[in-house]
């Protein structure tokens, strides 16, 4: 298996323009991660704000919304991502052609990561001192305005590390989309491996995943440092 490793590298990465396949897979992995992260953060933000408000609200609509959010969080966090993905593809979106399954994957990953993001964002909002909301309201600012201008900016700073972790998890989790034959980078690797029976494709993508994660960690650290400038 390890004979002629140099030749194997060549065969598995460069020959037959195989690097182009990795590139295509990488593109899909990145697209899936980015789109799902955006969906996840939007859902997470909405669910978190809904849950934070429902606690003190007497509005029956809020109570109903709160129950819906609870069901969403319980179901999504209580079932495996893999099962959710398969259900999305083969139970809910049965009429979507195989070539378009990338979008089903994005939706499934986005909805899944939204549940985790919601809990992270909620804890971030609740970690902001209660006096901040009171100070905002005492100046005549509305609840929404205080939320946007005072609470959320501080919450974001609190939750950035956890949210970054979630993004990293999301990136790695997209690898299971190869079960839907979505041509992400993992799918590409298994395809090439099935031709060459070499360890190189899997090792290659492991290195690529690792590189992206390290890049994300680096970016996050920079962002954190910029956001904490008011603390120095």
């Amino acid at each position: 298996m390890w004979n002629n490793f140099g030749k194997q590298l060549y065969d598995n990465i460069i020959a037959n323009d195989r690097w182009l396949m990795y590139l295509e897979g990488l593109g899909n992995t990145v697209i899936m991660t980015l789109c799902a992260a955006v969906i996840g953060i939007i859902i997470g933000m909405l669910v978190a704000i809904c849950k934070v408000n429902a606690k003190e609200s007497r509005n029956p609509l809020m109570k109903v919304l709160n129950v819906i959010c609870d069901i969403y969080l319980t179901v999504i966090r209580g079932t495996p991502m893999m099962v959710q993905l398969l259900i999305f593809a083969w139970v809910i979106f049965t009429s979507v052609p195989i070539s378009q399954l990338l979008w089903v994957g994005i939706l499934a990953f986005g909805i899944n990561s939204g549940a985790y993001a919601a809990e992270i964002i909620r804890s971030g909002i609740q970690a902001v001192n209660k006096g901040q909301m009171e100070a905002g309201r005492s100046l005549g600012m509305s609840k929404g305005l205080t939320m946007r201008k005072i609470i959320l900016p501080q919450a974001v700073k609190n939750i950035l590390p956890a949210l970054g972790n979630e993004a990293i998890t999301l990136l790695k989790e997209t690898s299971i989309s190869c079960y839907l034959a979505i041509t992400d980078i993992t799918y590409v690797a298994t395809m090439i491996r099935s031709r060459t029976f070499s360890p190189v494709p899997l090792l290659t993508i492991a290195v690529i995943y690792l590189a992206i994660v390290m890049l994300m960690t680096f970016g996050l650290r920079k962002l954190e440092r910029r956001l904490s400038k008011s603390e120095r």
């Binding site: 009171e134 005492s138 100046l139 305005l145 603390e231």
Partner: protein
Amino acid sequence: MSDNVENMENREFNYAEDDLICVEHLEKKFTTYSKEVHAVNDVSVTVKRGEIIAIIGPSGSGKSTFLRCLNLLEVPTAGKVIVEGVDITDKSVDIDKHRQKMGMVFQQFNLFPHLTVMENITLAPIRVKKLSKEEAEQKALELLERVGLKDRAQSYPRQLSGGQQQRIAIVRALAMEPDIMLFDEPTSALDPEMVGEVLDVMRSLANTGMTMVVVTHEMGFAREVASRVLFMDEGKIAEQGAPADVFDHPQNERTISFLSKVL
């Protein structure tokens, strides 16, 4: 607000021209687990324009809760709070409008840590009063000058001492040009050497004729600056009157015992 509307509301509540706040039978109950706490128990008070009211009393007597009911940070369980002729406990009232006219200063300052001093002060005037940025900053600088912190406009709250933070918090409230200022133990979280600078600012504010309601443990300040002192105990106003009367000739037994401990 047009004069007609105001007059009608005045009549409804027998609201005298110079009554700024009229509190009628205010009550606030908290329920924690099985225990019911009567934090404020049937309090009625009128605050006239220009008055400086000091609220004193033992801890847990409901002073802060009472003060927080005045701008509805705490929602009363019963009673009315009539501000400039409008009952703000009425659910149909736009409370944000009234809070603009009621500045509040907190024990813990509650400055916004992610914003500079200037942004702290101008955020509400720009967003709520719709002042232009230039106007708001101009005004903020004037106010900062008054409290001697003009050079700290670009600092972040964390870079300031407690006394400086509290002075900024006062400026932040004043920037909305309120008709009344509420102070919730403004010096209790300060190191002793910083209490003076904050009291000085409050004293000069009192001299401008601002209506103030101050919950405080600073008896010297209350005696010197207040036009009326309220002594609260167990959610009720046990005694009130001019500072000289309350401090030198207290009538109520609880007032006597409290003052003997703190003076």
